[in-house]
């Protein structure tokens, strides 16, 4: 029982990170039709900026994590907004070029991070209380898992409220369905594109910070590995759906953990790919397609 509880909470923690990455990716594709392969780079940039700022600030691990994390998230949003304004905006209506640019950007930003800070993992500031464990139904669960799950749940509630109750959320939900018609109602949909890209960058950077807490280190490949599973989550959840992404992220995180333990180590990734194949065969448009909610 205790093993199952530990696996479940660890899977939920992993799912929390997948959700944070996938929600931004999903909104960007749903609203703008941009398949953003550079999204992983926002994760890496956010994590490294958080680590670097924390290092510059000094003080206790908690201070470095909170202040560095906030600056890392702001940095991720800023980089994403600049990418949209400078590189993506001139390429709307040209999807092939968009893919090439975002793939190139992912490689370039990854190389830039390695060039500046090296390829070796950097120790991430994690407060001692997060490393300590809490016993639940006999399972000793590291406290950071609760932080990751709590933050992702808060983001899910916040994003849902933002989409449902604000005018800007209304614009995004409508734009996911038909962005041409949104323009035809007198709304400058390009402004929405920049803000959604920045929001996606901030969420990716937040995932980068939480992955630093989860693994206790940051490394230049973190973004790429999280991005692959985030793409799977988005496909399973349905492009443009925040609720779909949340359900799919939790499912993928749990399946990975259960398969790795109950089948054999390494089969978690295979199980996720099998799940993806089943969803593509049975419900190709995902669990909740093309409606932002």
């Amino acid at each position: 029982m205790s093993t199952f509880v530990l696996l479940t909470i660890t899977g939920l923690g992993l799912g929390a990170m997948y959700f944070l990455v996938a929600s931004g990716l999903s909104l960007i594709y749903g609203l703008m039709g941009v398949l953003n392969f550079a999204h992983g780079a926002f994760i890496t940039v956010g994590a490294y900026l958080a680590w670097w700022f924390g290092d510059q600030i000094g003080g206790g691990a908690g201070t470095r994590l909170v202040v560095g994390g906030a600056l890392g998230i702001a940095g991720g949003a800023l980089v994403a907004a600049l990418v949209e304004l400078v590189l993506i905006r001139p390429l709307y209506q040209r999807p092939i070029e968009q893919v090439l640019v975002t793939v190139g950007l992912a490689l370039a930003l990854g190389a830039l991070v390695q060039g500046i800070w090296g390829a070796d993992p950097k120790p991430f500031p994690v407060p001692s209380w997060m490393i300590e464990t809490t016993t639940i139904l006999g399972a000793s669960v590291p406290n950071d898992r609760f932080v990751e799950i709590g933050i992702a749940a808060a983001v899910l509630v916040g994003l849902t409220a933002f989409l449902r109750y604000t005018r800007f959320g209304l614009v995004i939900r409508a734009g996911v369905e038909n962005r041409g018609m949104v323009s035809a109602l007198g709304i400058d949909v390009r402004r929405a594109f920049t803000i959604v890209f920045a929001l996606g960058g901030a969420l990716a950077a937040l995932a980068g910070v939480l992955s630093g807490v989860y693994f206790s280190v940051v490394d230049p490949t973190r973004g790429t590995s999280l991005l692959i599973f985030a793409f799977i989550v988005v496909v399973i959840g349905g492009f443009g759906s925040i609720g779909g992404s949340a359900v799919a992220a939790v499912t993928v995180g749990l399946i990975q953990q259960y398969a790795n333990y109950y089948a054999s180590s390494g089969t978690g990734d295979l199980a996720v790919v099998l799940l993806l194949a089943v969803v593509l065969l049975v419900r190709p448009s995902g669990l909740a397609p093309r409606v932002a909610h």
């Binding site: 005018r167 369905e177 035809a184 109602l185 007198g186 709304i187």
Partner: protein, 235 residues
């Protein structure tokens, strides 16, 4: 008097196809001008080009004398243009109330007017637009365009696919709207045209082939048959 809309030598290419081949026409201020023609002659493309929803290759578009030919879609709309697209394009996942709220621009939204014209929309405010009938969706599409004080409405085949009863309702709503604003109407139903249009512009193969008073054209059955391939008042 300056026309509400003036189009000069407008060309549009879609892929390899030269859809609009230098059309020019004026829409006088007030009343309804109908844009007619057989299927595929470029009527919908004309409206989409005026809105900036398809790229204009060249040509001039002026709203009450102001050039808008280089403006993006949202900027054209903010100059006082309302658009009712051919396929209604309501946001299926949003409620009726959200569809209308999204259309609100600066100034006082005219909910009283749209609820007076379409009382059903008030009753169905909380219903998702995707679950409405075709006629109800058309009401939402027209209501969105009427919500703001526009100087020009571009309305694309509002009666397409509707039952005869609903066609009458929609025609009555447009007639009432025409008292408040100028309308450029694409319409296949010549009875509706006869009822509400003051002027007509006829397109054929991407060119304007006739422009003048509606009454004059519709009175000449042979001319109607030659230009539109139908008999006046029969469709």
């Amino acid at each position: 008097m300056t026309p509400a809309l003036s189009v000069g030598d407008l060309h549009v290419h879609l892929g390899e196809s030269h859809v609009l081949q230098g059309i020019s026409f004026d829409v006088p201020a007030g009343g309804v001008t109908a844009l007619l023609g057989r299927n595929g002659v470029g009527k919908t493309t004309t409206l989409r080009a005026l809105m900036g929803l398809v790229p204009r290759s060249r040509g001039a578009i002026a709203l009450a004398g102001d050039d808008v030919s280089r403006l993006a879609t949202h900027a054209v709309v903010r100059r006082g243009v309302g658009y009712v697209p051919e396929d209604r394009d309501v946001f299926a996942g949003l409620t009726v109330e959200e569809n209308l709220r999204l259309a609100e621009r600066s100034g006082e939204p005219r909910y009283e007017l749209v609820h007076d014209l379409f009382p059903e929309l008030r009753e169905r405010a909380g219903q998702r637009a995707g679950t409405l009938s075709g006629g109800q969706q058309q009401m939402v599409a027209i209501a969105r365009a009427l919500l703001n004080e526009n100087s020009l409405l571009l309305v694309d085949e509002p009666t397409k696919g509707l039952s005869p009863l609903l066609v009458t309702d929609v025609a009555a709503a447009l007639e009432r709207a025409a008292e408040l604003t100028t309308i450029l109407l694409v319409e296949q139903n010549l009875q509706v045209v006869q009822r509400i249009a003051r002027d007509v512009v006829v397109l054929d193969a991407g060119r304007v082939v006739h422009a003048g008073p509606a009454e004059e054209l519709l009175a000449d059955q042979e001319h109607v048959r030659r230009l539109l391939g139908v008999h006046g008042g029969t469709r």
